[in-house]
C-alpha cells in the first residue's frame, strides 16, 4: 500500500482502536496467524519461510570459515542481516539508505546475541586461527508490518534448521556435505513488538497500524528473562505502559515458542 493511502487509512484505524477494535478484528493482544516452514531451500545450510499474517520473511543460513576476533580467539561469530528489497516494495530498490531495515535487523540480532542462543565457543575450528562465521540473511518477501518479530522468528527457525558443514583436511568447507552435528540453540529468544495508538497498546501491528502509531516498543525475551529492548519513533511511553508490555510478552512467550519447538 502506498504511503498516501496509509495516511488516509490511519484515521479510520485510530477511530476503530478508540472503540476497542482492530482493522482485522483481532484483539489488542492477539498475534496474526503464524506459519513457519523450514528446509525450504536446497542451497542454504538452514532455511525458514515465515508468514505472520501477510508479512513474509525468508531466512537462510550460510556457514563460512574465517579468523576469530583478537579479543575472543576461540569463538566463532554470527552476523544477522535484514534486507528490504524491491521484491516487497519498489521504494526499497532505490532511494535512501535503508535505516528501517538496519534498525529491525539490529534489534533481532541483539536479542540473539544477548540471549546467548549460540555457544560461540563451539564454533571454534582451530583456536586463535579458524572459526565458523554464521551468516543469517533475512529477506522480506512481503512487508505488512511487524518485521522485527517476523525476522526474529525466521532467524531462529533457520538457525534451528541449520546443519554444520563438513571440513576438508585444510579446514575448508566441503560444499553440500554436512557433519552429523546440528547447530545447537541454548536459548530461544523471541521478540514482541507493540505500537501505541490513541493511548492503546496493540501487539503484532500491521503496516497500516504502524502508520497510525507514533510510538513503538520491542522486547526480546527468553521465557521471563528480558534480553533486549528498543523504544522507537517519536512518541513516548509511561512507566506503567512499559511494565504492561513486559507482562503481556511473558504471557505470550510460550505460545510462539511452541511453534518453533514443533519444527524438525
Amino acid at each position: 500500500m502506498s504511503d498516501i493511502l496509509n495516511l488516509i487509512n490511519a484515521g479510520s484505524i485510530k477511530e476503530k482502536i478508540k472503540n476497542g477494535k482492530r482493522e482485522d478484528n483481532r484483539g489488542f493482544e492477539d498475534f496474526r496467524d503464524l506459519e513457519i516452514k523450514t528446509s525450504v531451500l536446497s542451497s542454504a545450510d538452514g532455511s525458514a519461510w515465515v508468514k505472520l499474517g501477510k508479512t513474509e520473511i525468508v531466512a537462510g543460513i550460510k556457514f563460512a570459515v574465517g579468523t576469530p576476533y583478537p579479543d575472543s580467539p576461540d569463538e566463532g561469530s554470527m552476523s544477522l542481516n535484514l534486507e528490504l528489497t524491491g521484491i516487497s516494495s519498489p521504494d526499497f530498490s532505490t532511494g535512501p539508505p535503508q535505516i528501517d531495515a538496519l534498525e529491525y535487523g539490529r534489534v533481532a540480532d541483539r536479542a540473539i546475541r544477548s540471549a546467548e542462543a549460540i555457544d560461540f565457543k563451539k564454533l571454534s575450528i582451530v583456536a586463535g586461527e579458524k572459526v565458523f562465521i554464521i551468516f543469517v540473511d533475512c529477506i522480506a518477501i512481503n512487508a505488512d508490518g511487524n518485521l522485527i518479530d517476523a525476522t526474529e522468528i525466521a532467524a531462529l527457525a533457520a538457525l534451528k534448521n541449520a546443519k554444520i558443514p563438513k571440513l576438508d583436511e585444510k579446514n575448508n568447507i566441503i560444499s553440500k556435505e554436512y557433519s552429523d552435528k546440528k547447530l545447537e540453540l541454548l536459548n530461544i529468544p523471541l521478540s514482541f513488538t507493540f505500537e501505541k495508538i490513541e493511548g492503546k497498546i496493540i501487539v503484532d501491528p500491521t503496516e497500516s497500524e504502524e502508520y497510525a502509531s507514533d510510538a513503538r516498543f520491542s522486547l526480546g525475551l527468553v521465557k521471563d528473562t528480558v534480553v533486549s529492548c528498543q523504544k522507537s519513533k517519536n512518541g513516548v511511553f509511561t512507566e506503567e505502559e512499559i511494565f504492561t508490555m513486559v507482562d503481556i510478552s511473558v504471557n505470550k512467550y510460550n505460545e510462539i515458542l511452541k511453534k518453533i519447538e514443533a519444527l524438525e
Binding site: A44, G60, D137
Partner: protein, 234 residues
Amino acid sequence: MSTRLDGRKKDDLRPIKIELGVVKSAAGSCYLEWGKNTVVATVHGPRPMFPKHLSNSQRAVVDYRYRMAPFSVSDRKSPVPGKRDKEISLVSGFALESVIMTEKFPNTVINVNTLILSADAGTRVAALTAASLACADAGLPMKGLVSAVAIGRANGDLIYDLTKDEEDAPDAVDTAIAITMPQKEIALLQMDGFVNKDDWKKMVSMGFSAAEKVYALQKNALLEKYPVNGDINE
C-alpha cells in the same frame, strides 16, 4: 539414447512449478521452482519515474533487478550486486520491454524485481520466465509472453536445461535464450563456451522448441488463475 544424471532425456526440462499472486503487496507476482532453482518475481507500477531525466517521454522504462540471495549459492554471496548481476538485469529488462506495451505509460517506470532464493544453473532464465508471468499477473498490457530457457552442451551432447553438475562438464557450453511468444522472436541471447558454428545454430533452434514447452506451462498457470479471460496470448 543416453539419459542424463537426473534421468532426463536430452530434450526434457526439469520439473517446473508456478504459483501466481504470491506476494500480496505487489501488482503482480510469481513464485517459480525450476528443478532446484527457487525464484520469486514481483512487479510494481507503472508509476511516475524519478529522477525525471531518467524517464522516457515516449514510453515506460522497465527497471529489472536480478538478485541472488546471499544463501542461494555454495559460498555466501555478498548482498552487493556484482557486474554479472547488473549485466543480467540489463538484458533481461530489455527482453521484457520487447513484449510490454510500454508506449501506453510514458514517463513511468515499471519495477520488476526477481530474487533467486536457491540456485542450480539456469537462474537468469528462470527469473525472466517468472518475471514475464508476474507482468501478466499484474495485468500489464502485453503483446505476448517471454519464455526463457537454457540450452547447452555437456559431455558431447546438445541438451535442454543444464543443471549445475552438467554445467561443470569440461566441454560445457551454456546458452540463455528468451523467445517472445507467440511471435517467436529472440528477446535475449547470451552464451559462453566454445562451439562450432553449426552446433551453435542447432542450439539456437533447440531454444525455440524448448521455449514452447516453457510457454505451455506459463499459459497453464495463467489460465488456472484467470480462467474467464481465455488464452490471453493467442
